[in-house]
Symmetry: C2
């Protein structure tokens, strides 16, 4: 074991104390100057160590307040069931999942006609820059920012579903609305990626700079063509994506060897 620099020893010591409950989630750490006295280090060195914990998403700092141990609370999102089609639902998939978890969903909407960005054009099989309907959605759970969602629809869909451009929510969910008009989503292709948030994303989701985002890109297909491309951006520390595939009857039952 090679000798670690002082700021890292400090970070490791604090990490241990957070793990073992000396500083439980929600608790405040001692101030920088107190830690400096305890570890016989300068304030800058203490800040280097604390910065490591912030980067790892264990604590968050606020000017004037101090450092607070973050509480993580993971929210499970079931991504693989067939949206709105396999069983009855009243709202969209998000509201359903959140409500089932006993939480309060809310969201703000924005609808625009936009030239398709490269990723959307490619997936929707339209020329780059072609006009698309963009429905943008900023979602909250119990008033905490949870995700942003941008869905591009190809322009030709408007002939069949003019309400796509209506500002505001479509109560029964857009997938269900389109299915009622004969444009049924029969399959989808999901891509899941992760990266550090852009400054914009960090601001929108009110997340620490050291927490990754999860990007969920879903391209929905009718029997003949792609009909939508949705990119959802989650706080990575608060969400988990689930897929159920194949026969899972053994999952819910008691185990029989």
């Amino acid at each position: 074991m090679t000798k670690q620099p002082k700021y890292r020893q400090l970070a490791d010591a604090l990490r241990r104390e957070i793990d073992n409950g000396t500083y439980p989630p929600g608790a405040r750490l001692p101030s920088e100057s107190e830690l400096a006295a305890r570890f016989e280090a300068s304030r800058n060195t203490v800040r280097s160590g604390l910065n490591e914990l912030v980067t790892q998403g264990l604590v968050a700092s606020s000017q004037g307040l101090g450092y607070e141990v973050i509480k993580h609370e993971v929210f499970q999102l079931n991504a693989s069931r067939f949206e709105n089609l396999s069983f009855p639902q009243t709202g969209d998939a998000y509201s359903t999942d959140v409500t089932n978890a006993g939480r309060q969903p809310s969201q703000t909407f924005r609808v625009e006609m936009q030239p398709a960005p490269e990723y959307a054009a490619e997936r929707l099989k339209v020329p780059a820059g072609a006009t698309t309907v963009l429905r943008f959605c900023h979602r909250f759970v119990d008033d905490v920012p949870w995700s942003t969602q941008a869905t591009h629809y190809p322009e030709w869909l408007l002939e069949k579903g003019p309400r796509l451009t209506e500002p505001g929510d479509i109560a029964e969910g857009t997938t269900r609305y389109l299915a009622g008009l004969g444009v049924e989503q029969v399959g989808y292709f999901d891509e899941i990626a992760t990266r550090m948030p852009t400054p914009d994303e960090a601001r929108l989701l009110e997340m620490g700079a050291g927490v990754p985002v999860m990007l969920w890109t879903r391209t929905g297909y009718s029997a003949t063509a792609p009909i939508r491309c949705t990119v959802t951006t989650f706080r990575g520390d608060l969400n988990r994506m689930n897929y159920e595939i194949g026969d899972l009857s053994a999952r819910s039952e008691d185990v029989v060897q």
Copy 2:
């Protein structure tokens, strides 16, 4: 637009120059002292700005060498096809995916009998601490560390598949091996999460501390019981997880409106 601190202005300027190709992937940034002169800032301020870029995974620094712009080449992993069952394969799912991408896979193996950690016990429906077979695998693509994989099998499976404890690879893939013994995986439950790497993970995967990891937990089920729980840890910046669900015939065809 409020005034940003100097170190952030510096980070934003460099980020733009990386994006627009002034510093392409693999290029070296100017040294800290050169940047200090250019931005009329102290070396400490420059380091704060560069640290932001490191945290966001855009650049990496090495002592004595300088700052290098990271090149990321994303590897797509198809997670939803039915492993080894729906079509013939020669090796395991990983080798197949990597080879199909024209890359050279390699891996190191380790097999142990281990008490089940909490997450595995829960998913395998065995008591916490019950003995399980742990097959641990460290995978490389073109000799670059790519992922670690830890699979727990319940102990009762050994009666049917004793080769599980053999050190070294099982050539045809464990899932296929078990299927040949009558323990067929008929479904699986996937969970995908993301977080910052632990120091150990950062070392094993040779990744910057500012790059998130992607955790892929797959629990496989036979018709009657869970038969394995696999946790794969990826570099988040180099991997993307794909799921194909439902009828995707429209995906590969030319579009017909």
